[in-house]
């Protein structure tokens, strides 16, 4: 009887485990099946010579290139803005904060993590309205504002992953460092931070994914359907996630819908490139710090 119960449990657990790769396979398969046939330089640059398009000499109006470049820049800017405060806050919470501070700051981080992205977008929009009425009448939504709001959105991910990674460094190692005469700050920066690098890079990967896919925040803070390549940090921009939403909301024929699938594949590719870059950086650092395998 107990044996049968265990078998049922085993079968259910195995089914749950199989479900995940099955869904990934179906999802990716469908996306590639619809998206791959339309993929190509025509979809990306719409007839403009690629070199001219990439260098920005000739504007691309019908292609997806401005959206690709927009997403790429947006994600990089977001991570650049969020990395330092995120890792810093995580380090502080893990190594220097008093129990009371841990409690208060930790609750704030949890609250920020629970904030819906549409609220964050609205907050950015209200900020611009406030700035227009007070200090900067010329303030407008744009790449920098969108990246700032996205940075706020991904901050908790970075904080939590840094904190957990640093806290998982064994106490005995910290004690050994203290016994050698290293100060708490030295131990934290020279021993715990490098040892926590894989965990932190995991957080960066999650943050990149979140920043690349989010549409709600940028909807309020500067994305438009036909901005072309953003010239500066304060300009309006295009993004793949918004492009997909825009196309699927108002497509008029089958061909246009397929462009949406193409955009989705490109979004996947951009994310992959960024994730790969994060992984390569982490590997290189790891090899330098830990020694060659």
């Amino acid at each position: 009887m107990r044996d049968a119960g265990f078998r049922c449990f085993q079968a259910a657990a195995r089914l749950s485990a199989v479900l995940v790769p099955a869904f990934v396979f179906i999802l990716l398969g469908y996306l590639l099946w619809r998206g791959l046939p339309v993929l190509g330089t025509k979809l990306l640059f719409a007839g403009v010579p690629p070199l001219d398009a990439v260098s920005g000499r000739v504007p691309v109006w019908d292609g997806l290139w401005p959206a690709c470049a927009g997403t790429f820049r947006l994600v990089l800017l977001t991570v650049a803005l969020a990395l330092f405060p995120g890792v810093g806050c995580g380090l502080y919470l893990a190594g220097l904060a008093t129990p009371r501070q841990k409690h208060v700051f930790g609750a704030a981080v949890d609250m920020l993590a629970g904030m819906p992205s549409i609220v964050m977008g609205l907050f950015g929009f209200m900020l611009i309205l406030f700035l227009r009425r007070t200090f900067f009448p010329g303030a407008n939504t744009g790449l920098l504002l969108a990246a700032s709001c996205l940075a706020l959105l991904v901050l908790p991910v970075l904080i939590v992953s840094t904190r957990e990674a640093v806290e998982s460094v064994p106490e005995t190692l910290k004690l050994a460092a203290a016994a050698l005469g290293m100060s708490r700050v030295q131990t934290l920066l020279r021993l715990c931070l490098p040892a926590a690098a894989p965990g932190i890079s995991g957080g960066v990967v999650l943050a990149v994914g979140r920043a690349a896919e989010d549409t709600a925040v940028i909807l309020f803070t500067g994305v438009v359907a036909d901005a072309g390549l953003a010239a500066g940090l304060l300009d309006k921009f295009e993004a793949l996630s918004f492009e997909i939403f825009y196309i699927s909301a108002q497509y008029q024929d089958q061909e246009e819908l397929l462009r949406g699938f193409g955009a989705a594949v490109f979004l996947l590719l951009v994310s992959c490139v960024l994730l790969l870059a994060a992984r390569v950086l982490e590997r290189a650092f790891h090899r330098r710090w830990q020694g060659k395998r």
Partner: protein, 265 residues
């Protein structure tokens, strides 16, 4: 000839969250040879050892009263505040009093960085001297021959005995004047433990050593002074190992109870 002491402990009490672990300990340790602390587990050996480099303060709820005096180069130094002179600065104290733990605490980085990290952060060693000092310390613990061609590999890939010798070398590279060892061979196999023991007998010519040991036979092999601690965290009873064997030492351990009169020097 009476040797100059290396450590003098005066009315030292250490408690954690109000629970006393050692009480009013009076102790004087000679400036040469290996002093071995033995006693039942939980009697406060490790706490007493950690009191010598103020390491108990790293744990929450720790309160220390009394004084520890160290006789290092430059004369007498006090470890805790409230003495007749300002206490040694923490970094300076721990640089001059090296410590090795029960299980090898290698950092999760390369062999080279394990050695270089304390040199850079604690000893402010200039980059040009790093290689030389690392090699010298590794030679001191017989490790250079084994690892000189894999300094850039992860230290965690060394064997247990090699890791422990690396930890010893890491402490030695800071040029300490006193070594504290907390059961340094407890996690090693017999062969590796013997190697470390031989090493200690060689090192003791340059550094006074205070160590905690669980093994009575090891204590008898290494000790020039035996310190037998009772179960109440009171002053250890000091004796020389001459004429003792494991059986008599065990009997001595048995009779050193909480209320036993303490023989101190």
């Amino acid at each position: 000839m009476e040797q100059m002491p290396a450590v003098a402990v005066r009315r030292l009490s250490v408690s954690f969250f109000g629970r006393a672990v050692i009480r009013d300990v009076e102790l004087s340790l000679p400036g040469g040879g290996i002093s071995v602390l033995v006693g039942r587990s939980g009697c406060g050996k490790t706490t007493l050892l950690r009191a010598l480099n103020r390491l108990n303060g790293e744990f929450p709820g720790c309160r220390t009263t009394g004084q520890v005096e160290l006789f290092l180069r430059g004369g007498r130094h006090v470890v805790y505040p409230g003495g007749d002179q300002p206490p040694l600065e923490l970094r300076e104290l721990r640089r001059r009093v090296g410590m090795v733990f029960q299980t090898p605490q290698v950092f999760p980085t390369s062999v080279y960085r394990n050695m270089a990290l304390p040199l850079q952060t604690v000893a402010d060693c200039p980059g040009t001297e790093l290689d030389g000092r690392i090699e010298a310390a590794l030679r001191q613990v017989d490790l250079w021959r084994e690892v000189h061609d894999r300094l850039q590999t992860p230290a965690e890939r060394l064997s247990g005995g090699q890791q422990q010798r690396l930890c010893l070398a890491r402490a030695l590279t800071l040029e300490p004047e006193l070594l504290l060892l907390d059961e340094p061979t407890a996690s090693l196999d017999v062969h590796a433990a013997r190697h470390v023991e031989e090493l200690l007998l060689r090192l003791v010519e340059h550094y006074p050593i205070v160590m905690v040991s669980h093994s009575l036979s090891q204590s008898l092999r290494l000790a020039s002074t035996l310190l037998i601690m009772g179960t109440g965290g009171t002053s250890p009873r000091a004796c020389t190992p001459e004429g003792l064997d494991e059986r008599t030492l065990e009997a001595l351990l048995q009779e050193t109870k909480e209320d036993a009169p303490c023989v101190t020097r």
